[in-house]
Each structure stands twice: as structure tokens, then as C-alpha cells.
Amino acid sequence: MNAHELRGTWLYLEFHQLQLQHWMQQRPNCEQPLLIVCSDRNKVVQANPSARALGIHPGLALSDAWLLADALDYAYWQPEVEQRLLQQLAERLYTAFADLSLDTEANGLWVQLTTQQRLHAQQQTVADKVSKLLVDTEYRASFSSNPLLAKLGIDDRAEALLQACQGYPLRVCGLADDLHHKLSSMGLDTIDKLLQIPVPILGKKLGQPIVDFILQLKGQLKPRLLIYQPRELIYLHRQLHAEVHVWSGLRFVAKSLLQDLEQHLRQSQQAVTRIYLVLFNRDFQGNPAQMPYKSNAFATFPLGVECVEIGFARAVYRLADTYSVLQLKLENRRFKAPIVDIGLYVEQTEAFTAQPMRLDQSKAGEHQLATLLNRLQSRLGADKVQTIHQHTGWLPELQQSLQPVSDQDIGLSTAHDSTQSYLDWRPPWLLSPKPIDIRGWRIQGQPQRIQPPWWLPDQSGAADRDYLIAQDKVGRWGWVYFQHDAKAQASPQQDPGQWFLHGWLS
């Protein structure tokens, strides 16, 4: 074949056991029958070779599988896991093929080869490249002149479509059940029989779906393809010349990685809010240069890999910003084993935008604040450095929450609404409601009643609250409330409600 023959060619790659393969890769020497089972019907959807050897095939009920194998292991099918794995496979292929589309319904990928003619001159070179990239993955590859035929595994490039489709059953073409039933009742069970009927007649009898299907078979209608968009992945890697036991031995290399990162980000006008430092120790068996492919599976990193996540309160790109935070994060860290390789991984970048200048605070001051918050979060943990977010809620405890500081929070001041009336008065301190014995308190002033909004159902258990200020035995002022019993509001004299302390104002 020459380059000319790849023009208009589509490659379809089908991955029919993605979840099972991923599971098997985590248990490399396992001889046990492994199954992936659909949770709602308890039927086998994927089976490994050991299971197939025992006669367990997809479609078999799990109870029947237990009869055939004593020591089988199974996991439930998770479509989201397969989607994630499909994305990872697309990431791998994207290094060689730019024009990819995802088939999320059937766990497949389309590769448009017309645009790749200069890179991959022959079909065999394409096949070799794919097999190299998907070395640890089972797949089925088929070439054809249009996406649907490639998916069905029908190659019509060397012969006429009618001959190529000879005897191909319609039941495996993914048609809707009712349409397939109608076609069967008309005696149409293969594609070649279908193609011999004039399209207008079929359209009149069976509607638009069958017309679309035929036009797609003939390549006259292109199906809607989900074009693969690569994520902004950055992976930088360095091999160490000697085993490193402590952080001080990694400083130079880490600085060099961060310098490369700064250069990359500066060129692309991007910034990062999170980076991962991947440390490979001598127990790691794989190739550290390929770690980005495992990016989504940090939780299941293989043996010999330590991953350090470093978050920034504000998007950064400069070495000075990233290195100081990295230093804080790692200076007291003890490695599980000596480090032999180091990688720096960035999952997502964002466009670097200049922050608007504030009148009361210089940009330099704001940058200094962001750096300070980064440093605090790195040393203390993101959860210990929080900011206050205000909400709309009918209860005081719903009107604000503490959340870890993020980039968007810096420079945002919060305040109460100065136009609110005295009825909306609140104390400066809020507690989680704490039951109290009101006999130890001296109540002052008039109560302020907070009622559940009318749209809350009675079953919600929400009840009226009467808020008061009260003095405790030593003279401190508290914000207390009486919580009425939701069921006893009809007769207040017998209300068995409870008093709570909810805040302080002294």
C-alpha cells in the first residue's frame, strides 16, 4: 500500500474488556477466574481467559458462573471507570494521532487517517504504531472508508460495499430493537439484503433512522463524532544519578524541574493551581517516563511510587512561588525508600490572567497575600486555612460556612448588609447550637422569632426559634434561643422545646 491509499481511511479501535483488563493489570500473576458483573441484572459482562476456559462467557448469570467455578472473583461493572480508562487510552494515542474521536457507547476510538498520511505512510506502520502504544491493552482494530463501516469491521476499500457486506448480520449493527424487529419481519437480516432495497421505500416504511443508517454505511452521512480534546498535561521527568534518602538531595533536581515548568508555562501563558511531585523509589518496576498515563489513578499508584500533591491558593507559574511551597511541603518528609527517579506532573493548567488592581491594596500586596496563603496551606494543610463564604439561608448556621481558601477567595471581602433592620441583628460569634439550662441565664429584651420558610414541608422537622440575648452567671452575653417542638406549637403551654446557646456577643 502507498500513502495515497490511506486517504479517506478510518481506523476503529474497540476495547471490549477495559475494566477487566485494568483489574488484571493490578493482579499480574492471578490465575483465578475474574469477572465483571452488571450489578442490576447480576450477569457476567466481562470474563478473563481463566473464566472463559471454564465455560463462563458474557451474558451468563452470576449464579451459573458460581456453579462452574469455585474460586472466582468478581467486581461490578462501572461505566465511569471505563470512560476514564478510554480517556487514558486516547491520551496515549494522541501522542501519535491527532484526529481522534471517542465512541463512549461501545468503548471505542475512531482515528481519522487522512490527516496522518505524511506521518504514517502505510497501513502497516499505523498498525505497528498503535500496537506499540497499546502494548498492554487488548483491542480490535479495523480499517475502512467511513466511521460506521470501520466500527462494524467491514473493509470496503478493496471491493464494492455490497460484496464487502455480504452476509453481515444486522443484529450486531446496534440498531434499535423495534427497528431490528421490523427488518426481521420483512426478511431483512443482513446488510447486503438491506442495501438492495431502494432507500426511499425503506424510509417510507421504517422512517428516518434506517435512512440515516444506510447513508452512513455508504459514507454519504457522517455520524456525530465526539472529537477527543486532550487535557493540558505536563509531565517532566528526571533520572537521579544516585539514590536519594532525604529531601535535601532532591532540591537541585526539583528546582530544575520547576524551572522547566516555569519556562513551559511562561511560553504558553498558563498557570497552575496544583502540581504533583512523583517520586519513584527502587521498588518501582515500570518506566517512570510513562507515568502520565496513570495520571487519573493516583489512588492506585503501583508499588514504589510516592505522589506529593502541592496545591496553591492562587494560580502560579514562577519558580520562586512554586519552589518555596514545595520546600515547605517536603522539608520534613520521610521517604519510604531511597528515591531513584523524580517526575513533575501537572494535570490541568489555566490561562494566566492579570488580576484587576484594587484601589485600597496594591497588586504586589495581593500577590504577597497569595504567597502567604500558599505557604500556610502547604505547611498546615489546605483544610486548616479557611475563609468564610456567605450563603442565603433561613437559619443563622446556614448563612455562612468555612471553606478552604481558593484562588477566587483572595481579595474578596465579606460584610453584612448594612441596610438590614435591627430585626436581622446577629452576634459576632456563632457556635454550634449547645443545649443549656436557661435557669442559669438572665434574659434581656424581646425575642426575635425565626420561622421556617413556608415552602418547607411539615415533615422536615423545622420548628420556630425564639432568639434572645441573655447573661450568664458571670455576666457574659450570649445569644440563646428556644426551639419550639414542631408538633406542640398548637399548645405553647405544653411545649417541651429546648433552650440552646448559639452565639456570644460580649
Binding site: 456567605q390 460584610a415 455576666g475 457574659r476
Partner: protein, 246 residues
């Protein structure tokens, strides 16, 4: 101050010997006293080049330094107008919420939309109850070591802003680390809320002990013992009515 008679006599002897150039300021005796926090090192006056007592230097500079009113008239008067910026202020209370709120409101008012750092607050600051806008950052559940590190970082990098810090018993080293950090924060307002502390020396600018008068009337009152202040002797102030905004 609980300086024993012997130590007081030693200090006096040192001063006399220093005046007569018989002892060097770096002698062992003085060094020991300075390390124990019982003597402050004299500072150099920028104007005339002669050394002057620490309190004198403070007295001279306090006139030009900005002060933040606490809302307690007697306390503000005793402190020369309120809490000085760029200085460390300690409030000792027998328990939380003994006048904390009014001091906090005054500090947030000074922030004027600038950052306010709350370190180990005794409860959640409630924005609908704070009377002025600010950027609030809450650092909670910090250990003693963490609070020492975090507060020093915040104070020295804050610029214009407020640090409100709750620590039951800060030790000498912790207070000194804050004081060192304060030298880089001339526009920061830093309030330390502690428990009742022994009266040994600490590197605070002002130290105030809060007393809450027994709640015999409808409105409770609050009194202050100023244990340390710039340019003045310790003083006990009359009780003031505790403002409860409603």
C-alpha cells in the same frame, strides 16, 4: 512585677556601675537579667545619638504612631489613644468572651476590607454580626508549634491587616517570635487573647488584664488592669459598661 528584692538590688547596682563606666552592657550579670526578661535593652535614639531608656523611646514615638480606638474610653485614654499599630497587644481574660467582641469589632473596623486572620478563635466569627467588611481567613485547630510558626509568618508578611490570635498560655519564646515578626509589620494590628498569665515579663507593647464585674444589673460592666503600657505605670481602670449591640 515580681522581681525579688535581691534582683532589684542587682539591677540598681548594675545601673549605677554602668553610669560610672564600671560595667560593660554585655557583662554576664546583665546578660542573665536580659535573658530572664527582667531588663529591657536600651535603644539608640535616632535624633541625638545618645542611648535612652526603652520606655522613653516608646514615649517619644507614640505621639506620632497611629492608634486604633477600642471603644472603651478609659482604656483608650490610658493607652494614649488606643492600640498602637505595629505593636503587640495582649489581653488576658479569665475565660473567652470577656470583652473579646468589642475589641474584635474595633480591629475589623480598622481592617477596612483588608485581610483579618483569626488564629484559633474560640468560636466561628459570624460575618452577619461583624459591623465592617474584611477579608476573613480562619486558621483553626492549630497546635502550639503550628500557631507559633503560622502567626510569625502571617505577621511578618501581612503588611496592612489584622491578626487576632487566641493562645491560652504563650511562652516567652513564642511572644519573642511575634515581637520579632512585628518589626516587619508597621501597619499591622495584632491582638493576642490569652488566659490569665503570671506576671513575668513578655515582649508585649501593652498588656491588659480584663475583669468582668459581677452581673448584678441589667447591663454588665467590664474593668481593665493595664499591666504594661508605653510611657506609663501600670494602672487599674474603673469599670466601663460593656456595649452590647442590639
Amino acid at each position: 512585677m515580681h522581681i525579688q528584692l535581691f534582683e532589684a538590688a542587682t539591677i540598681l547596682r548594675c545601673i549605677i556601675m554602668a553610669k560610672q563606666n564600671l560595667v560593660s552592657p554585655t557583662s554576664q550579670l546583665l546578660t542573665d537579667l536580659i535573658q530572664r526578661g527582667q531588663v529591657f535593652r536600651a535603644s539608640q535614639s535616632a535624633t541625638d545619638g545618645h542611648s535612652s531608656a526603652h520606655c522613653q523611646a516608646n514615649k517619644l514615638s507614640s505621639a506620632s504612631r497611629q492608634h486604633i480606638a477600642t471603644g472603651f474610653a478609659g482604656l483608650d485614654h490610658a493607652l494614649g489613644g488606643g492600640l498602637a499599630l505595629g505593636k503587640l497587644h495582649e489581653f488576658q481574660r479569665p475565660a473567652d468572651f470577656y470583652g473579646d467582641s468589642q475589641l474584635v469589632q474595633a480591629a475589623v473596623a480598622y481592617a477596612n476590607s483588608a485581610p483579618v486572620f483569626w488564629l484559633n478563635p474560640p468560636a466561628q466569627p459570624f460575618v452577619p454580626g461583624l459591623q465592617h467588611a474584611a477579608e476573613h481567613y480562619v486558621l483553626d485547630q492549630l497546635s502550639d508549634e503550628e500557631i507559633k510558626w503560622a502567626s510569625s509568618q502571617i505577621i511578618s508578611n501581612l503588611g496592612h491587616g489584622v491578626v487576632l490570635l487566641w493562645h491560652p498560655q504563650p511562652d516567652v519564646q513564642t511572644v519573642r517570635s511575634w515581637q520579632r515578626a512585628m518589626q516587619q509589620a508597621p501597619e499591622a494590628l495584632v491582638l493576642v487573647f490569652s488566659g490569665l498569665m503570671p506576671q513575668e515579663a513578655r515582649a508585649y507593647h501593652t498588656r491588659v488584664r480584663v475583669r468582668l464585674h459581677a452581673a448584678t444589673s441589667a447591663s454588665s460592666s467590664i474593668a481593665f488592669d493595664v499591666l504594661k503600657r508605653p510611657g506609663g505605670w501600670p494602672v487599674s481602670l474603673d469599670a466601663e459598661k460593656l456595649a452590647v449591640h442590639r
